[in-house]
């Protein structure tokens, strides 16, 4: 190898290293400060510090976490219009995700989430543990809890609140492994959901 090609290789390596640096870092949602989420008018006031993840999981979706999204994850789905899926689709044509429909009943929202988890996240099992009327965003909504098994066999617990406002779906979920992590942050997640306003 000549000196020149070695230099060229070094420059190429430096260029690759620069590109690999994080383009946009995650942000912090500070305790007690109201913020709007998921590129919408949905606003929440956290009762503790959360990390707002910069990755985009959908047009109207945003992830928050404390210890990393594998261990605990809050997902805001805000102002989902009829005909829109909850998450970004891997392939609109070949692997479409279920869509929110304008005639969807609140009682059917848990089914929408279940079908999204199975089709979009390859969840192998989804058991609804409870689904009951509950206030969300000051409206009549649904509060439900579930247990979901991943494709690697990890069992997570989840809790969600949803309401349909002006024909648009607002849904917030909290998912964490059943063992230890769910109970660790469930109260903070519930407080976060309860603080949501439009």
């Amino acid at each position: 190898m000549t000196k020149r090609t070695a230099l060229r290789a070094a420059i190429a390596l430096a260029a690759v290293a620069t590109l690999a640096a994080p383009a946009d870092a995650h942000k912090l949602a500070e305790k007690g400060k109201a913020v709007t989420v998921a590129a919408s008018n949905l606003s929440v006031t956290p009762t503790r510090d959360w990390n707002r993840l910069s990755r985009k999981v959908g047009k109207h979706a945003e992830n928050w976490t404390v210890d990393g999204e594998q261990l605990d994850e809050v997902t805001f789905h805000a102002a989902i219009e009829p005909g829109e899926p909850l998450m970004r689709e891997r392939s609109k044509k070949k692997e479409p995700l279920p869509k929110f429909r304008n005639d969807m009943l609140l009682a059917e929202v848990p089914e929408l989430l279940e079908r999204t988890y199975r089709a979009g996240k390859d969840a192998r099992d989804f058991q609804l543990s409870e689904s009951a009327p509950g206030k969300f965003l000051g409206r009549d909504g649904v509060t439900f809890s579930y247990q979901v098994t991943d494709n690697d066999g990890l069992i997570r617990k989840g809790e969600a609140r949803a309401a349909i406002v002006d024909g648009k779906l607002y849904l917030v979920t909290f998912d964490a492994p059943r063992l230890h992590y769910f109970d660790l942050l469930a109260e903070d997640a519930r407080a976060l959901m309860a603080s949501a306003t439009l």
Partner: protein, 395 residues
């Protein structure tokens, strides 16, 4: 002598034997690994099996496991079957696999794609064929030498990263992995032939092998049609991925079957009885995948031996969740058929109520939802359903 037996086995399994029905080579007894490659490979598979044994995705049900083992033993014979451990893995895809150490994985999606014992036996026999011929080891050796070569090529390429060397690296990679792919296919052919030889000496119909493949092709077409795609992608089917083109395989499987095959039984009743307790769960896993065409095809295919309340219920769920106005009235009909066959099926009353509610028939809907709640007062969604019944006093 041993060489002669193996030689005969290969001869029987070769395409030249395609004129007469396939026969089975004699079984060589329990096998232990030889050489570093094979011993190392078995150790890895033993480790995998330990992980699998503890997984929450394994369906642990004694009657179903016993039934599956019975079918395998009837097909390949008691001596061969003793070397196998069967694990039923919860995954809504058409697949089954067998590792060289005797771990057989059967995916729950398989149960929806076979309609009788003969078809189930076909798939199990095919996987056992890979095991008996020890294809896993050949595949491992081929993959290892291929990836060694690819790793060297990558290293050489990185020393002078010009556009042209990148191009030739990509071509090289294609050639190596392409070769591996074809190699796999020849093994699939061999496993197919051996599989049908097992079936020929069992009490089940060997012809069913071609029926399974026919249906897999039709399912892929139905799925593509519903998604508005021009042509189906057969590559998306896990089991067909490395397997010979389905049309070719359907033809040679029909050729190799024993002549008295069509007169034998196919075990439809036994299969349906064994599957019945699990059908609602396995169908649920399928219809919630949001693949309308494939799911509807599978339900109708299962119903060729007669509609049951469960099949009507799941078809109703499938149509109701797609949710076009025409789907909702179709769903209401399907739920009504389910209720007619089994008036105590609570979920069918729930589905019927929701479908009627959305097609503008609220009073009929309320009656169905009320029936659901009286059949299942402690339902997890009782609170939400009560909200939909006007004037309900138990709120």
């Amino acid at each position: 002598m041993r060489t002669l037996v193996v030689g005969m086995g290969l001869l029987l399994a070769s395409p030249a034997a395609a004129q007469q029905s396939a026969l089975l080579p004699p079984y060589q007894g329990a096998y232990q690994p030889h050489g570093v490659d094979e011993i190392g490979l078995w150790r890895e598979y033993d480790e995998d099996e330990r992980t699998l044994g503890a997984s929450s995705l394994v369906v642990r049900d004694e009657p179903l496991s016993t039934y599956l083992r019975r079918v395998l033993c009837d097909t390949v014979g008691e001596d061969r079957c003793a070397s196998v451990r069967i694990y039923i893995v919860r995954a809504p895809i058409f697949n089954a696999s067998m590792a060289p150490n005797g771990t057989m994985r059967v995916f729950t999606g398989l149960f929806l794609r076979v309609r009788n014992e003969a078809e189930l036996a076909t798939i199990l026999a095919h996987e056992f064929g890979h095991f008996e011929r020890r294809h896993g080891l050949d595949k491992f050796r081929a993959r290892r030498s291929a990836s060694d070569a690819a790793a060297w090529m990558a290293l050489l390429t990185s020393l002078g990263p010009t556009y042209q060397t990148m191009q030739s690296y990509q071509n090289f990679q294609l050639a190596v992995y392409g070769g591996l792919f074809r190699y796999g296919r020849d093994q699939e052919r061999e496993a197919d032939r051996l599989g049908i030889a097992y079936l020929n000496q069992s009490h089940l119909q060997p012809r069913s092998a071609s029926a399974v493949w026919q249906h897999v092709m039709e399912e892929a077409e139905a799925s593509a049609r519903a998604k508005g795609l021009k042509k189906p992608n057969f590559r998306t089917i896990a089991f067909a991925d490395s397997h010979p083109p389905d049309a070719e395989r359907a033809a040679y499987l029909a050729d190799l079957a024993a002549p008295d095959g069509p007169d034998r039984e196919d075990g439809t009743e036994r299969y349906r009885t064994a599957l019945a307790p699990f059908l609602p769960q396995f169908l649920d896993d399928q219809i919630k995948l949001n693949d309308f065409g494939a799911s509807d095809y599978l339900i109708q295919n299962l119903a060729t031996a007669g509609w049951t309340a469960t099949l009507w219920l799941k078809r109703g769920d499938l149509y109701r969740t797609r949710g076009n106005p025409r789907d909702l009235s179709a769903a209401a009909d399907f739920y009504a058929s389910a209720v007619k066959l089994d008036p105590t099926l609570a979920e069918a009353h729930r589905g019927l109520g929701l479908a009627l509610m959305k097609t503008g028939r609220p009073s009929e809907a309320a009656a169905s939802l009320q029936t659901y709640l009286s059949l299942r007062p402690d339902a997890v969604d009782a609170g939400m359903i009560k909200m939909l019944i006007p004037g309900d006093t138990t709120k």
